[in-house]
Structures are given as structure tokens and as C-alpha cells.
Point group: C2
Chain length 363, copies 2
């Protein structure tokens, strides 16, 4: 009997992929299976359907002590919709299933669905069904989102070539800064509960920008709409769930290319820097390995740079190189750092963490 911790989550996904991949050739309408943000299915008439799904487990993916349950509802939908946008597609409908143990009240479930509903409205994706179940331990959530796009406009991870530029939306590391604050307050709260101390009230107000980014990440609907407006099709795209370094590695491995990014260009806001300083951490580490920002990382041909510059909130952080060049960052100290040397998180190997890994976004 082999324990899962012996092979890790990526090892497990590899085993599953071996079994499931076997008969893909029998389904010519299947354009992409396991190995991208979404699976892609030819729906006929030049339109593709894309599908993504997440299974979220209390104490593995979230902690109800620091996560308001309505935020959890919003985030669960938002991060799946983010996978749809990462294919340059538009979400059409979603299902939401929940498993609830004795400790979960009807009021909590209603609040959860208020958050789900807010995301549903915000991203124009109706919740069309789902399932409810009892649970042995804690709160379980399973969400599936189906989207669509003209087949020729779907962006995969494997489409970029040497000479393309690498772009990122928004700013990075902020969600991780928020998590650091939440974890600190959580420890304090647990201590207070132990000591029956009623006096301590966590002050989140000062850290609102970073905590909100962690608890309520907003999938980048606006970016996909601007791509359509300006006639931009990214040559490759992925959403940043596990940190910039991990996502860059996926794009490079899938596209069989290398990359050079410039540390100085990685967009980080001041609030993130302040919190990194507070914990005596390195800000770039937050951006590279923090994860959960749910920004979009994408590439376009050089001919698109003038159009990209018309869009707000996008930063060009590097350029695609040959595979032989490797996956590197030019640091602030003008040194070339190999980004392949540090691996992402793996919650099967490292115990619980706030990281999640999808069948569809790992291979």
C-alpha cells in the first residue's frame, strides 16, 4: 500500500492522468483534456465549451475562523470563473454542491449562497444546479463552471513562441500578504479562546486592501472584455493561483520555451511591501510564490504591444526566450536567478496549506 504523501499531489495527478488519458483519441470533439486551466470541447459551429471544477474542503482550503462564509461563497465561484477567463472564454453557467456537517447552521449556508449569488451576478454566470449532502467533517464545496468561446479565440498554455512578451494583470503578492495578516490574527484568536480572553479584537481595517484580495479575489472579467474590444488574442494564458513562478513554469513547459522576467517590473503595491517588511520577508518572494492573486499571466506577439499599452492595469514583465535559455529572472542586483529551482506548494507533502491544485491546471 502506497501512501499518497509518498508520491505527492502532482504524482497522484500523473497516475490519474495515465488512466484517464488512455482513450482520448476516441473523442475527436475533445480539444484539450487534463493539463490546462479548463478542458476544451468542440461544441460544433466553431464554438468551444470550456469546463473547470474545484473541490474545496474546510481545514484544507479554508478556515471558517478567518473566512466569513459569504466571502467563501464569493471566492469559490470567482476562482473557478478565473479559470474560464484564463482560456479567454466567457462563463455561461455553474453548479454549486455543498456537504455540511452538524456544526454548520442553516444561517451559515444562506450566507454562503449570498456570496455565491453575488459572484454569480458579478460575473453573469447563473447557478443552474448542484447537490447537497451531509458531511462527516466540516464544510465541503464543489463548484463547476462551463464557459464558451469561438474555438479560434481560445487561449491555451502551449501557444507562445520565442519573441512574445509576457504580461501580467494587476499586482502580485497582495493575497499572500493578506493571508499572513489573517494567520497572525488567527493565532491570536486561538490563544484568546484558550485563555477565555474577551478583550482582544483583531483590527483588520488597516490591512483591508490585502485581506480583501485574499478573501474576495475578483476574477478579471474586465480584461477578457478588453481583449475582445481591442481584438487581442493572447498566444498563451494562465491564471495565477499558485504564484507567478509556478505559472510561468507551466507556460514554458507547455509551450516548450524559456523566459526572462525582470524583477524590477513585477507589479507590487505599497501595502504588500509594508506587510512583507512587517514580517521581515522579501516582497518578490510573495509575488513569485505566494499565490491566490487570481490575476492573469499571458503572452502576446510583439505586434500587439501597442494595443496592450492602451489597456489599463497590465504590466509587461518579460519576454519569451528559447527553451535552451531556461526560465530566469533578472534580479534587482542584476543577477540571473533560475526560477525552476524553487517548487510550488504541495499540500499533500506539506500538510494543510492555502494552496490548491487542479487536475486541470497541473499535469
Amino acid at each position: 500500500m502506497t501512501k499518497i504523501s509518498e508520491i505527492g499531489e502532482f504524482g497522484l495527478i500523473h497516475e490519474i492522468k495515465q488512466i484517464v488519458d488512455k482513450n482520448y483519441q476516441n473523442y475527436p470533439y475533445l480539444q484539450c483534456g487534463i493539463g490546462d486551466d479548463c478542458a476544451v470541447i468542440d461544441g460544433g459551429n466553431g464554438v468551444s465549451q470550456v469546463i473547470t471544477t474545484d473541490l474545496l474542503v474546510e481545514q484544507i482550503h479554508f478556515d471558517l475562523l478567518t473566512t466569513p462564509v459569504s466571502h467563501l461563497g464569493y471566492k469559490s465561484v470567482s476562482v473557478n470563473v478565473s479559470d474560464i477567463y484564463a482560456m479567454n472564454a466567457v462563463p455561461k453557467y455553474a453548479t454549486v454542491s455543498i456537504g455540511v456537517s452538524e456544526s454548520i447552521s442553516v444561517e451559515m449556508i444562506k450566507e454562503f449562497y449570498q456570496g455565491v449569488f453575488r459572484a454569480s451576478r458579478g460575473f453573469s454566470v447563473p447557478i443552474v444546479g448542484g447537490d447537497t449532502s451531509a458531511s462527516i467533517a466540516g464544510f465541503l464545496i464543489s463548484i463547476t463552471v462551463v464557459g464558451e468561446q469561438k474555438s479560434e479565440l481560445v487561449s491555451y498554455r502551449n501557444g507562445t513562441k520565442e519573441g512574445d512578451v509576457l504580461c501580467v494583470t494587476g499586482d502580485l503578492g497582495r493575497a499572500y500578504a493578506g493571508l499572513k495578516i489573517l494567520m497572525r490574527e488567527r493565532l491570536q484568536m486561538l490563544e484568546d479562546i484558550k485563555e477565555n480572553n474577551q478583550n482582544y479584537h483583531p483590527v483588520f481595517e488597516d490591512y483591508k486592501t490585502v485581506i480583501q484580495k485574499h478573501l474576495l479575489p475578483k476574477a478579471r472579467k474586465d480584461i477578457i472584455e478588453e481583449f475582445a474590444k481591442y481584438g487581442i488574442k493572447p498566444t498563451s494564458m494562465i491564471d495565477i493561483s499558485d504564484g507567478l513562478a509556478s505559472e510561468i513554469k507551466h507556460l514554458c513547459r507547455n509551450s516548450n520555451v524559456g523566459v526572462l522576467i525582470h524583477e524590477i517590473k513585477i507589479p507590487v503595491i505599497n501595502d504588500t511591501k509594508l506587510i512583507a517588511d512587517l514580517f521581515a520577508d522579501d516582497t518578490t518572494t510573495y509575488a513569485l510564490f505566494g499565490g491566490e492573486d487570481y490575476e492573469l499571466l499571458f503572452t502576446v506577439g510583439k505586434d500587439m504591444i501597442s494595443k496592450i499599452e492602451l489597456m489599463e492595469d497590465i504590466t509587461i514583465i518579460g519576454e519569451i526566450k528559447s527553451k535552451e535559455f531556461g526560465v530566469k529572472m533578472l534580479s534587482l542586483e542584476h543577477e540571473y536567478v533560475d526560477l525552476l529551482q524553487r517548487s510550488g506548494f504541495d499540500h499533500f507533502k506539506s500538510g494543510t496549506s492555502n494552496q490548491k491544485n487542479n487536475l486541470d491546471n497541473e499535469d
Copy 2:
């Protein structure tokens, strides 16, 4: 704080539906949301997409002591595909997510996916993605299947009218008979484990037909194919997951009609009768309330009877009446029994059971 057990699963689903239903009018492409076997979405060009999802939790929906994990993989896919067939649609692709605790080995997961893969092949539905997660307690499974059909051929629960005939595929109560045997053997096994007795080996061979029906229910692909072959479109349809009585009630409530079924016509095989006798139970009770047979219950106009008679493995068990007539069974003793008087199972109210209830198949 309201406990879920106070309002029950149907009460909970009602609460969720209240929140989720609010903005359906904003999505004209949504043909049917919560309240049928699948949600139905207008995919354009006269084709509809249908979607169904299940969340299955160890110790709530299945027991690994009596369920080989490969069978569990097969069944998880089969029962979702069954929901697709219940809309008279064809499954196109599926996602499978799992949550696994420390007690689950890599070998078990591989076996699970062997079962998933067997169903995937048998029902021609590729597994295109999914998610993997750690779990705090036991094995978690979430499956979503998307299917399609010409919009005009989709069968709903609400389409039958007075004068139609009510038909059922296969035989009923067999899965429940299988469950009875498995539960008996499970008790024996638990006792043996407690007493460290190595001598007792359960003999399942004699009960193969009923146990297989419980562990490996086969969604009725053949029936949907025959409908297409003979040009039959059921006026309403549902799959039998919770027992004949419960499904009949759904059809009648949704279609605003009554029904008269004839106990003598309910198809039950001898093996089921023998086991009901063994436990001194009533065979019709197995058929009416046992559930998990995953046969199809459907209605057709009288003009279709000649075509239905060309098909194998279908029994006409009753006729649709006015709403005022009620929902009744003419018993073997020539008495009219009111089927609305006995309610289905509800695992939130009755503790764990082998019943499952979907958002999409309850309202």
C-alpha cells in the same frame, strides 16, 4: 442558529433555491434550472446542453467495507449519466474530483479510476478534468456530467398529460434487495473484526444479481438509443434513484396531474422476491421505496404504445389521471392506496443512509 436537521434536506434545498432562483430571468438561455434531473441550457442552433452533478461522501453515501472501490468509481459515473439519460439526452463529457484522507492509498485511487474509466468507456463519456484534494475524513467524490440533445427532444418532468401511459424500464426493488444483503454481511463482518474471528467469509455468490444491481447500476443508454431509433419522445421522464413512489410524485407534482399505477404490473424479478421473503419484507415496498435502481420512469402518449411494445425491457405500469384523481396504486387486493402518504428517505433527518438527493432532482 437553526440546525439543518430541523428543516431537513428538502427544506435546505428550498432555502437555497430561493436565493439562487432570484435572477434566472436575466439568463434567457437558461431553459431549466433547479428542479429536474439536469439543468438545461440553450446552446444555440436548436441544441440544448444538460448538466448534472453529485457530491458523494464516505459514510454518508457509501461504505468502503461493502463497496469495492472500483465499483464505486463505476457507479459514481453511471448514476450521473443516468440523470442525463433521464432528460433523453446523450452524455458528452464529465469531470471527476476526489478528496482523499490519509487512510486512502494510491492503489485504491487507481482502482477507483479503473471503475470510472470502465463507465467512461461504457457510456462513451470522456473524463476531461477534475480536481484532487486532501480530505479531513474519508473519501469524497464530486462528479459532473454534461450532455446534449436537440432542444425539441429534451424530456422534462413537467410534460405529461391526462391519458398518457406510465412506463418503467427493467425491474425494481433489486438494488434495495442487494443493499439488504450487504448490510447483513457488513454487520457480520464488523462483529468478526471485533471478535478477531478470521473464519467467516461472506458468501455473495448466491446473491450476485441483486448485489451487482446495487453496486454496479447500469444507466439505461440502450433505452435512449431505442427512443431515437423508434422516434419516441417521452412526454416526461425521470430516473429512479429514490424509489418508484418518490419519482412518481415528482412527475405528478411537476406536471400537475394524478396517476393510477397497478401493483400487479410493477416489474420485480424472482431474486428480489426471494430476498424480501428472507427478511419477511414486502416486495412492493422494495420497489416503491427502495431506490437506487436507476431505471427510467417515463410517460408517452397512447399513440406511442405500439412503438413501446416493440422495445424490450419496458413495462406499462399505469396511466396518467387528472390532478383531482390523486396519486394512487391499485393493490393486489384491489384497494386504492394513496402513494402520497409515505415520504421518501431524507438522510439529514434519519441519519446516514444510502439515499442521495440532488438539488437538481428535488425542489
